[in-house]
Symmetry: C2
Subunit: 344 residues, 2 copies
C-alpha cells in the first residue's frame, strides 16, 4: 500500500543480541519488505557486527552515543544520555525523518522516550502496549492490551485502551467488526474486582467500543474475541506466561517425542509437521508489541529478539504506517471520545 | 499413611456431569484409594446414574435435597436450601463424620458453605484457593494461590496465602525447603503495582515464609518456585488461561500432526509418546484446587470434571487428610503469625 516507502528507525543497540541480530534482521527487512531502514547506533559497532558489511549499503546508519541498560531507571538515564540510540530514534520520528521506531531495548525507556519526545495523542491519558497473540483458529489473532505499560489503572484508562484497540484491530489487523472483551473472572457483568466492575459499565456505555462482554482466561485464545483489555499488571503476567508456556510445550515435545525407537522414528517422519506447530506456538513469529497512544508508531520488541523477531517487528511497524493507524486513532478517538459541548 | 482410612464426603450433585461422572469417579476412588466415601445427594438420582448400582455397596449414600445451581447467588441460595448437597457435605465434616469435602459444583457456594459451617482457621482473614500446576520439570509442580477466592486483596491476605502455601508445599507436596515467590512483572523489588510492592516488603520481613523474590509470568512453570502467591483476580485469569492453553496445544497437535501421509504414519508410531505428553499437559490429571484457610479440608474441582478428575480430587483430599495439613497449618500459622505478647 502507499506510494512512498515506510521509513523505519531501528534502535540498533537495544536488546540482548544487539547489535548483531538487530542489524541482521534490519538488513533482511530492507531487502524484502520494501521499507527504508535507519539503523540508529554506534556506526563502528554496527559495521563490526555483520559478516557482510557490504549489505549495509541497503540501510542508512544514523549515529548515536550509548544505550539505556536494562538495569537503569529510564527517566534519569534518558536525561543523562540525550544521544542514546532510543532518544535519537524517537527524534527522527519527531523531525519527520522516520515514520516509526522499532526497539528491542529497555521497554520502559522506549515508552518514556516516546512520551518525552513525541507526547501522547490528545484525549489519551496513558499509552498502552498491545500484543498480538495467536488463537486456536489458525488464521485469527487477538490483540491484548495493556501488557505492561500501566500497572495501576483507573477505569478510563482501560476504556481508552478499548477505543485504541478497536481502531488497531480494524485498520491494521483487518477485522471488519472487532469483538472487544474485558478480561475478567466470569462471564456475568456482576463478576470481577472493583476495577473490572467499573470498566464493564464504562465499556457498555461507550458507543465507540463494540463491547461484547467479559473474556475469561480460557476465552483469550478461543478466537471469540479480537481485542481484550486489561490492566498492565495482569496483561504483563499473561504475556510472559503465554510465551513461557509456548516454549515449555515445545520443550516437553522435544523431550517426550523422541523417547524410544518408535519415538525417534516418528519424530523424524513428522519433522515438517512439528515445524508448523512451532510456528503456530512460538512468539518469535509475532515480532513485538505496539505502543498505542503516543504520537508516533513505536514497536517494542522482546529483549531476547533475534533477527527473525526484528524482521517481524519491522513488518508490524510497516503495516501500522501503511494503514495510517496513528491518524486513524487520532481521528477516531477525537471523534468518539471528545465530550460534546454546547453549540458544537 | 495413617491407621484409619480418610473419610471423604463428595457432593454427588455438583458439576456439569453430575451425578453420573461424580459417582463413577467416587466408586473408583473407594475401590482403589483405600478411602471411605460418603456420596451426598439425591439417593434415587445417584442410583439411577450408574450402570452398575451394585458397586454403590462400596460407598455410603447420605441424602440431601437439591443443589446450588451455577447461576445462583451463593449466600442466599445456601440459606434457602439448607439441605443442599454442599451444605450437607460440610455438615458431615463439622460433625466429625467426614474428614474432607470434594465438590465440582458452584465454587463460590462451596467456599461460602465452608465458611458458614466450618469457619476460618484462627489468624486467617481470607481463605484462598490453591491450584497445583505442572512445571517443565517432569516431577515437580508449583502451588499457585489464590486462584479465585479473593478478587480484591489487601497485602496481609497475600502474606497469609504465603504462610499457608509454605505449609502445604512442605507437608502435602513433600517439598523440604519450599521456594516462595510473589507473582509480579519484574524481578526487582522496585517493580510492580501498589499491592505487589507492599506484599514484597511484607514477605521479605516474614520469617515464616521462605521468600525468594518476585516470580514473573515466565517463571511460574519453570520449576524455580514451589509456591507462587497472587491476588485471586490474576490467579483466576492465569488458571483458566493455563487450562485453555494446554487444551489448545493438544488441539493444535491433533490438527497438525496427522497432516499428510508422513503425518499419519508418524502419529501412529508416536501414540504412546503423545499420550505421555497429554498427561503432562492436561489439567484433568490434577484434580482440583484446595481451599486453604477454612477449618476443614475442602477440594474444589473443576465444574467440567469427569470421573478421572473426581478420582484425582479424592486422592488430593486423602493426601491432605493423611498428612494432617489442617492441623499443621493451624499450628504453624499460630506459631508464626501470632503477634508476640509480653510475658510469653
Amino acid at each position: 500500500m502507499g506510494l512512498t516507502q515506510a521509513r523505519i528507525a531501528i534502535d540498533a543497540m537495544g536488546g540482548d543480541y544487539a547489535p548483531a541480530e538487530v542489524v541482521s534482521g534490519a538488513i533482511r527487512a530492507a531487502a524484502e519488505l520494501g521499507v527504508e531502514i535507519l539503523l540508529v547506533g554506534d556506526p563502528e559497532a554496527i559495521r563490526a557486527s555483520t559478516p557482510h558489511p557490504e549489505n549495509l549499503s541497503q540501510v542508512e546508519i544514523v549515529p548515536a552515543e550509548g544505550t539505556i541498560e536494562m538495569h537503569e531507571e529510564p527517566l534519569s538515564a534518558l536525561r543523562r544520555k540525550p544521544q542514546a540510540s532510543i532518544n535519537v530514534a524517537m527524534e527522527l520520528v519527531k523531525q519527520g525523518r522516520a515514520d516509526a521506531v522499532v526497539s528491542a531495548g529497555h521497554s520502559g525507556a522506549a515508552m518514556a522516550s516516546s512520551l518525552l519526545r513525541l507526547g501522547r495523542i490528545k484525549g489519551i491519558d496513558r499509552p498502552a502496549i498491545g500484543a498480538v497473540f495467536p488463537t486456536v483458529m489458525a488464521d485469527k489473532s487477538v490483540l491484548i492490551l495493556d501488557v505492561g505499560a500501566n500497572v495501576d489503572c483507573r477505569p478510563k484508562f482501560l476504556e481508552q485502551f478499548a477505543v485504541m484497540g478497536t481502531v488497531y484491530s480494524q485498520y491494521v489487523l483487518g477485522v471488519q467488526e472487532p469483538r472487544v472483551g474485558l478480561l475478567n473472572i466470569g462471564e456475568e457483568p456482576s463478576k470481577g474486582n472493583d476495577l473490572a466492575l467499573r470498566v464493564h459499565q464504562a465499556l457498555s456505555d461507550n458507543p465507540a467500543v463494540p463491547f461484547v462482554g467479559n473474556a475469561e482466561g480460557r476465552d483469550i485464545l478461543s478466537g471469540d474475541f479480537d481485542v481484550v483489555v486489561c490492566d498492565g499488571f495482569v496483561g504483563n503476567v499473561l504475556l510472559k506466561f503465554a510465551e513461557a508456556v509456548g516454549e515449555s510445550i515445545l520443550q516437553i515435545l522435544r523431550e517426550e517425542l523422541p523417547q524410544g525407537v518408535r519415538g525417534k522414528l516418528g519424530t523424524l517422519v513428522l519433522k515438517n509437521n512439528l515445524r508448523r506447530i512451532k510456528q503456530r506456538v512460538d512468539h518469535a513469529e509475532h515480532g513485538g508489541g505496539l505502543l498505542l497512544g503516543v504520537a508516533g508508531i513505536v514497536v517494542i520488541s522482546h529483549g531476547s529478539s533475534q533477527a527473525p523477531s526484528i524482521f517481524n517487528a519491522v513488518r508490524l511497524a510497516k503495516e501500522a504506517v501503511d494503514n495510517r493507524v496513528l491518524e486513524r486513532i487520532r481521528a477516531q478517538y477525537q471523534k468518539v471520545a471528545a465530550p460534546a459541548t454546547d453549540g458544537e
